[in-house]
């Protein structure tokens, strides 16, 4: 019994993924989905345009849209290779995302991952 229990513990310890950003958003659906590197910096944008950021190790904190640039510049200064994950709601007006993308470009970020869910045949057929 204890052996099985320890096997399970090891499984959970290996697979556990500390989620740095717990913002609830409806992600866009895409067919191409690549694995995001571990410890990427997260920027989440809710449908109402509220932004939260995390450097990848700490829990995300809400920031003002103008402060995204200084956050991104700080992350890039520490690790120029660090990937950014944009976790934006599928219904958020593009101008909010545009502001974030612009900050990342100015901060000389190298790669942005647009977090998404798997597109399925059903969701594609229903237009969403």
């Amino acid at each position: 019994m204890a052996d099985i229990a320890f096997l399970l513990i090891i499984f959970f310890m290996v697979t556990i993924n500390f989620e740095v950003d717990k913002t609830q958003v409806f992600l866009p659906k895409t067919e191409i989905r690549l694995e995001i590197p571990k410890k990427s910096a997260y920027i989440s944008v809710t449908e109402s345009g509220q932004i939260r950021v995390s450097g990848g190790e700490e829990i995300s904190v809400p920031v003002h849209p103008e402060d995204v640039l200084s956050f991104a510049a700080d992350v890039v200064a520490r690790d120029p290779q660090r990937a950014f994950v944009l976790k934006a709601d599928t219904n958020v007006p593009y101008r909010y995302v545009d502001g974030v993308m612009d900050s990342l470009k100015q901060a000389k970020a190298q790669v942005i991952y647009l977090l998404s869910e798997q597109e399925t045949v059903d969701s594609a057929a229903s237009g969403g």
Binding site: A2, P93, Y96
Partner: protein, 144 residues
Amino acid sequence: MKFKKGQVDDEIPTASMADIAFLLIIYFMVTTTFAATRGLDFSLPQEEDSPLVDKEESVLIEVQPGGVLVVDNKPLQLDQILDYLKPKLERNPMKPVIIRSTEMTEYGHMVSVFDELRQAPEKIGIEIKNVSIPTQREIDMFWY
């Protein structure tokens, strides 16, 4: 002399081991979240002043609210874009494709277009190497 009283048990007591193990299992089960850890990657240009492509040479995809697409001033459906791009890409594989969304366009529609372009190798057999998503500031600065 007899030392029976002082004899110690030479085995580690393991009776509570399973209890501890199960407590740990429950802890990990409760804290585990199956987070979404996949997405579309988008590499940003790294040159100091990335050359903005000539408007005449590029294909401009405008994404309007509700997912209405206007490609080079012609309305197209999402699944028609790649067929429209194919002859142009066959002539010039480096043909720049610009995705431009209006302020009120829903983010999801822009992502669908980007996803569609990324599927070009599977759907039309050509990779679209030069996709750019300019921001409003860049458009204001460099557009003409």
